[in-house]
Amino acid sequence: MRRVKTAIGLVLTAVMLFPVYWMVNVSFTRDADMRRDPPNWFPVDGTLEGYQAVLDRQLPYLATSLVVGLGTVALTLVVAAPAAYALAKLRPRGGGVLSFLLLIAQMIPGIIMAMGFYAVFLSAGVLNTVPGLIVADSTLAVPFAVLVLTAFMSGLPEELLQAARVDGAGTVRTFRSIVLPLSRNALVTVSLFAFLWAWSDFVFASTLDQGGDHQPITLGIYHYIGNNNQEWNAIMATAVVASIPAALLLVIAQRYVAAGVTAGAVKD
């Protein structure tokens, strides 16, 4: 009976992941076989042309995405970690209101933020710049980060912080030497999601970085689809490469991912 369930589970997973398989399959398919009827179910006579095209044309986009992703992680942690510590352990008056605002902030549609940012960035002169994009992308992660970190830090034993206080550690010292190291797991979760959301962002990139010199990989794919919708192996090869961070995330940090989904459940 358990074997049967595993078999059913395998079939369900195969059905669910078929589009992903197809993306990989098409990325290896020769141009000549692209419009075959019926299509090749496996990349027989496979080609690496698509991946060659990625190397030739998409590397600058990938580099930009990497920079934007890392910048977003840094900005998110700098803003969110102290706030979470304050909300969880110092409990200022009005902390509840702030948590509420963050909860609501997650629900604002990205396209609306994009339009507001466009107006703001235009007057500030940071339209089409990488720092501008980092700031916009961080809005996807900051509310989530504060809420998840607050929940985690609330669980840290009060005795530990009191012991530090007795030993003469100030608030800043306690935060740096005790709270932050103990919150490593939650910080990793938050960083992974912040990176992934920045890496995947299309709304902000297509509105705030449309004419930029350094554009992220999502725009790289988008231009590809727009310009030459014949080279589908190259498009799908780029898509495969753009999916690598998500795949790595799932392989390396599976338990953090499941925790993150249930904890925050935020994605546009």
């Binding site: 969880a88 008056r93 702030l98 339009m115 609330s154 890496w199 753009a242 249930t262 904890a263």
Partner: protein, 316 residues
């Protein structure tokens, strides 16, 4: 991991409720505010200010020139009236409702069925459940372009499969009758993992003892589902659906990449309409675009407040 167990017992991390409250020290207040200063400043600069500018955009009569110079005349609610009178308004509203309701219904039903299946532990169940997360983690542009090719009229594998079954080819993305369904299917695919994971954690929180007692009383599988699982899962279900609703209202990427809201507006929702007004044309109309966006925000906030209230009722 503490995060996991906490999230499990509550379904979602919302308002922090510390297990043991620290005494509120007066001297600590200043330190607390110092630690909160960055996020406060951040929210003002990067949330409040762009949103304020967005409202301002919707209340003025902007042209490209006055957008740059910032001297557009105040127009009151003209942009909103223009939007309401626009022939796109009715269809966009209808498409948004259909897209949201159909997506939610299928995502939730499929997610619940899968959660019920995976909660019976069997060999490999944890690994397969993790693999189910892949669609949710992929960048939306990747999912959307993959679906575009799957659903391609001439060379897509979906039409090839339909052809093998003797069914005629469907113009999934290029026919006004089908484009809304195509983007809805892709969106359901992306949303199932989220529903699966959250409902799975909800199922796990139901104590096994309840089922054992019911089995002793002779309840069959169907009774166990409708009398125990369904009522006990209701709070988690409510939160899943409400969050799903708020997030589906926001969906823009998938539709824009797959169909650009077309053909001839057949898959235009408020989100894509707002984008098209603001960024999709050669001559942008920021005012009406911002007005559409603000209507969307009002809808999202209404459901968001319902969500927050549900959350608070669950965590007293």
């Amino acid at each position: 991991m503490a995060l996991t167990t906490q999230a499990r017992s509550r379904g979602r991390t919302g308002e922090p409720t510390p297990p043991r409250r620290a005494p509120r020290l007066r001297s600590g207040q200043w330190a607390a505010w110092a630690f909160l200063a960055p996020v406060g400043l951040y929210l003002l600069l990067f949330y409040a200010y762009p949103l304020y500018r967005n409202v301002e955009l919707s209340l003025r009569d902007y042209t490209v020139r006055s957008f740059v110079r910032g001297d557009a005349p105040f127009a009151g609610f003209d942009n909103y009236l223009k939007v309401f009178a626009d022939p796109t308004f009715g269809p966009a509203l209808w498409h948004t409702v259909v897209f949201t309701v159909v997506s939610l219904a299928f995502q939730f039903t499929i997610g619940l069925a899968l959660a019920l299946f995976f909660v019976q532990n069997f060999p490999l169940s944890a690994t397969l459940r993790a693999l189910f997360l892949v669609p949710w983690l992929l960048p939306l542009i990747v999912s959307a372009s993959t679906w575009s090719w799957l659903l391609n009229s001439e060379s897509g594998v979906v039409n090839a499969a339909l052809g093998a079954l003797g069914l005629g080819p469907v113009n999934w993305l290029t026919s006004p009758d089908w484009s809304l369904w195509s983007v809805t299917i892709a969106n359901i695919w992306i949303g199932v993992p989220f529903n699966l994971v959250v409902l799975y954690s909800g199922l796990q929180a139901i104590p096994a003892g309840v089922y054992e007692a019911a089995a002793l009383d002779g309840a069959n599988a169907r009774q166990r589902f409708w009398r125990i699982t369904f009522p006990l899962l209701r709070p988690v279900s409510a939160i899943t659906l409400l969050l799903g609703l708020v997030y589906t209202l926001k969906v823009f990427d998938i539709i824009w990449i797959m169909t650009r809201g077309g053909p001839s507006g057949a898959s235009t929702t408020f989100a894509t309409w707002s984008y098209r007004l603001g960024f999709g044309n050669l001559v942008p109309s920021f005012g009406p675009g911002a007005a559409v966006g603000n209507l969307l925000i009002v809808a999202a906030l209404v459901f968001g407040l319902v969500y927050v209230r549900t959350l608070h009722r669950r965590v007293p």
